[in-house]
């Protein structure tokens, strides 16, 4: 065991800065080096269960410009609604589905793209179900503390209407900032850091 007192404070965050890719996605930005493949580069393989989907989008600043230096991570349940984590106690998740993905925004267009599967439903607290969704985490130069948000699906209107997280959001029109556009299998999710349609971010 470690001789530390309890009641510690979390280490404070600092911006990921403009060069987060060096450490996290060195292959994606052409640096190469010792890592065979960037961590999080692929969520699926050809044995992954479920319906394949893609999620493309951009992170957009208060001047309506896409961030070209952002890094985006997603974490989601598998097709049956189980997380590929040792802390998942409800059952065994699909071992061919990572659940976690990480992409750099494109250095020119700012676009990111994830190839994943349609997530199953996950319970909220007791037995209430959440609508299918993917959790997002966004870091970049100028973002001092990584931002958590969620992406829901436009073709799941009934589940979205019953979703206990979406139901908390006021004013109600802001719910739309969490719902992707497009239709299965290709979705688009733009994340707006500021302005009229600022995406809802969560303190989780």
């Amino acid at each position: 065991m470690v001789p530390f007192p309890g009641n510690l404070k979390e280490s404070p965050s600092q911006t990921a800065g403009p060069y987060v890719h060096i450490g996290c996605t060195p292959n994606a930005v052409g640096i190469g080096g010792p890592y065979g493949e960037d961590a999080g580069a692929r969520l699926v393989n050809d044995k992954t269960k479920g319906d394949r989907i893609s999620i493309t989008g951009r992170v957009i600043d208060g001047a309506n410009a896409p961030l070209r230096d952002a890094m985006i991570e997603i974490w989601q349940a598998d097709a049956d609604g189980l997380f590929n984590s040792p802390l998942e106690k409800r059952g065994a998740a699909d071992t061919n589905f990572r659940g976690w993905g990480r992409q750099a925004a494109d250095g020119e267009s700012g676009q990111f793209r994830f190839e994943t599967v349609m997530p199953g439903q996950v319970p909220f607290a007791a037995d209430r179900m959440q609508a299918p969704h993917a959790q997002f985490w966004i870091v970049a130069r100028g973002i001092n503390l990584g931002l958590h948000t969620r992406m829901y699906f436009p073709d799941e209107a009934d589940a979205n209407a019953a979703d206990p997280v979406l139901q908390r959001i006021e004013p109600r029109w802001r719910v739309a900032t969490l719902i992707a556009s497009g239709a299965r299998p290709n979705y688009t999710f733009d994340i707006r850091l500021q302005g009229e349609n600022e995406t809802v971010f969560f303190d989780v």
């Binding site: 309890g6 510690l8 404070p12 060069y19 997380f83 996950v122 870091v139 100028g142």
Partner: protein, 243 residues
């Protein structure tokens, strides 16, 4: 070692930098202007990805060798950087991925967008990764990064720093931050450091010279312990949900 999957303690947002920190100009257009929506921990927050030792290469935590040409070495001060990843309950966080990236000894990053006139070092990539051991310990060998100028105010310089990324066991623990080096006068002058308002919080990111772990005639050591959010005990949480 198993960790229970209890809810996380709420984040102390006053300890972290505020999103909008105009002394760091880039934050002005990249900060949400509305309050974060608070949620209880859901299953997607208390679970998170795990990483296996099989993804970690033998030299991944050795920045002195992991990009160097055979028989050559990067230029600069050789250091060991080590510490524990623990949570707010002082429990070690075992087998979690720690990634670092940094400038070389001249303050230059290996990145196509870094145009600082200090030269690249052909033997230094500036990134590494490791998994903590069963007691939450991590260890890197690297070159002490140099300070570098950056466009913010007319003459801002970053203190020597190493960026780090840590996962923990739940996605809500995800953290990216930067560590500084004890005694660097640039720490208190830096607008990015000063987005953190509590001096004790800045101290928490300041690695300390650790003579006991220095390798004589080879490398000095610096130590920093990284603290992730702690979880509530789940011992009494098996009752039916009342809320």
């Amino acid at each position: 070692m198993t960790q229970d999957a209890g809810a996380f303690f709420p984040r102390d947002l006053a300890w972290h930098p505020k999103a909008y920190a105009p002394e760091y100009k880039t934050s002005v257009l990249r900060s949400p202007s509305r309050a974060l929506v608070s949620l209880p921990s859901t299953l997607g927050d208390t679970t998170g990805p795990v990483f296996g030792q099989n993804m970690i290469g033998e030299l991944d935590n050795d920045l002195i060798l992991n990009f160097a040409r055979p028989g050559e070495l990067p230029i600069g001060e050789r250091i060991i950087l080590h510490g524990h990843v623990i949570d707010e309950n002082a429990k070690p966080v075992p087998r979690t991925l720690v990634e670092i990236w940094q400038a070389n000894s001249g303050g230059r990053y290996r990145h196509k967008k870094d145009g600082y006139l200090a030269p690249l070092d052909p033997n230094f990539g500036g990134f590494g990764r490791t998994l903590t051991d069963d007691d939450g310990r991590f260890r890197f060998r690297t070159i002490k990064p140099g300070p570098y100028p950056w466009p913010n105010n007319a003459n801002d310089w970053r203190p020597s720093h190493i960026h780090f990324s840590v996962f923990g066991s739940g996605f809500a623990q995800r953290l990216i931050s930067q560590l500084y080096f004890e005694g660097d006068p640039h720490i208190r002058l830096c607008p990015i450091v000063n987005t953190i308002k509590d001096p004790a919080a800045i101290e928490q990111l300041t690695a300390k010279l650790d003579m006991n772990n220095t390798i004589p005639m080879d490398a000095r050591a610096y130590r920093l312990d990284i603290v992730l959010r702690g979880r509530r005990s789940t011992m009494f949480e098996n009752r039916p949900e009342g809320n």
